[in-house]
Amino acid sequence: MKIEFVLNNKSQIIEVDPARRLLDILREDFGLTGVKEGCGEGECGACVVLMDGKAVNSCLVPAGNIVGKSIVTLESFKKTERYKMIESCFLEAGSVQCGFCTPGIVMATESLLNENPNPTEKEIKEGLSGNLCRCTGYNMIFKGIHLAAKRGKGLW
């Protein structure tokens, strides 16, 4: 199937089996390896990217569902001021250890703050409930997000 979509702000037309996972298209066809495969079942959030600005599990998205959509991965998001704010706050709060979950966590953070620039502790937990991290125990991640929301006033 011929599929037209926007990837990291650039229009793309690809010929692809519509059942293929967005995750594989991003990693294999476009070399965007910031997108990670964890569980492959939509449970861990390592493969989260933005689709029309909203966090989605790219392992659950068949190619046929990206027609006309705008997909943003960490590779392009990292050029933004918002990313720089998240990065510095994550570093300060110790939100990153092994780093495997981090791209997904960053994209979920962007999706959350975009919708709700001033999240409460509970809202941060709910917003990140689809992202697993086996290193940090989450508290440092929640702290990093809280810090980014506080310091990044006006960015979201």
Partner: protein, 283 residues
């Protein structure tokens, strides 16, 4: 073999459905997992996919004749953002999966997947949701408890699509929903309980009770509900043993990786008891 269809209108979609053996797919959150073949592999679908999640005809939510018509393609996130969806239904939806999955999953998909643990189902059973099924030639409306015929089994015909879910535009005085799972986020349901009731002058005028995940299908008994309607609210506590005994006969859970049959049954009946105690205090 054609690998997939992505029609632009509902009419075109129904035409394809009538001509080809194909698998309708909306968000894909259930199907992509069921057909997954492993790391970095394309899921193994036996039939061409028919993409329907984008169809504008399936994205509407409107109130008509005091009923809420929900397009089957609406996402769980859309339901949460809607001002006309009853809060108790949103409570169930809010506990489903996680934001990145709710941004993909459709209500129609949750119904057609027909899992005994489907989290939209207890509410839809309790309010007697009607499902609109369309084909090129016909349109029929079927109550949800007739549509779902068993675990993962529905009455959807080969040329039909679920296009709309109709629920009453009504909220109840007493609303009770509990999902029992391993954790709050991202958990599959071990047992779910939904209770709704209306009371007037210390009498129960309407009651709906539904259990999820504890039988091949959602458990709801209009017969038992009818025996409760009309009773004084303050008699509920004394009626607990009798009502629990009736439902105990209908709750037939299984042991699986998620939970045990014994636990599921016990917790379900305790939730029912808690709901009845809540009604006992109603005026």
């Amino acid at each position: 073999m054609v690998d997939g269809f992505r029609p632009v209108t509902l009419q075109e979609t129904l035409n394809i459905r009538s001509q080809y053996n194909c698998t309708p797919i909306a968000g894909g959150t259930d199907l992509m997992v069921q057909k997954a073949r492993g790391f970095a592999l394309k899921p193994g679908f036996e039939q061409p996919l028919l993409f329907i999640g984008h169809l504008p005809e399936l994205q509407k939510i409107v109130i008509k004749n005091n009923q809420i018509h929900i397009g089957s393609g609406l996402l769980l996130t859309d339901l949460l953002n809607s001002e006309i969806i009853p809060e108790i239904f949103k409570e169930a939806v809010r506990l489903m999966a996680s934001p990145p999955s709710r941004n993909l999953a459709s209500i129609g998909g949750n119904i057609c997947n027909a899992s005994p643990a489907g989290d939209t189902l207890p509410y839809l059973y309790a309010v007697d949701a009607q499902l609109v099924l369309k084909s090129v030639a016909a349109k029929r409306t079927v109550p949800i408890d007739k549509f779902i015929t068993g675990p993962k089994q529905t009455d959807l015909r080969k040329d039909e699509l679920l296009t709309e879910i109709i629920i009453p535009n009504k909220t109840f005085g007493v609303n009770y929903y509990k999902k029992v799972g391993q954790r709050k986020g991202m958990s599959l349901t071990k047992a779910a309980f939904l209770g709704l009731a209306d009371c007037e002058n210390k009498r129960i005028t309407d009651i709906r009770i539904a259990f999820g995940s504890v039988s091949p299908k959602i458990v709801r008994s209009r017969e038992i509900e009818r025996t409760i309607v009309g009773k004084p609210t303050f008699e509920m506590i004394t009626a607990i043993p009798e009502i629990l005994a009736k439902y105990a006969l209908l709750i037939r859970p299984i042991d699986d990786a998620r939970s045990s049959a014994v636990y599921r049954k016990k917790v379900s009946l305790r939730l029912l008891e808690d709901f009845l105690r809540k009604i006992d205090k109603e005026k």
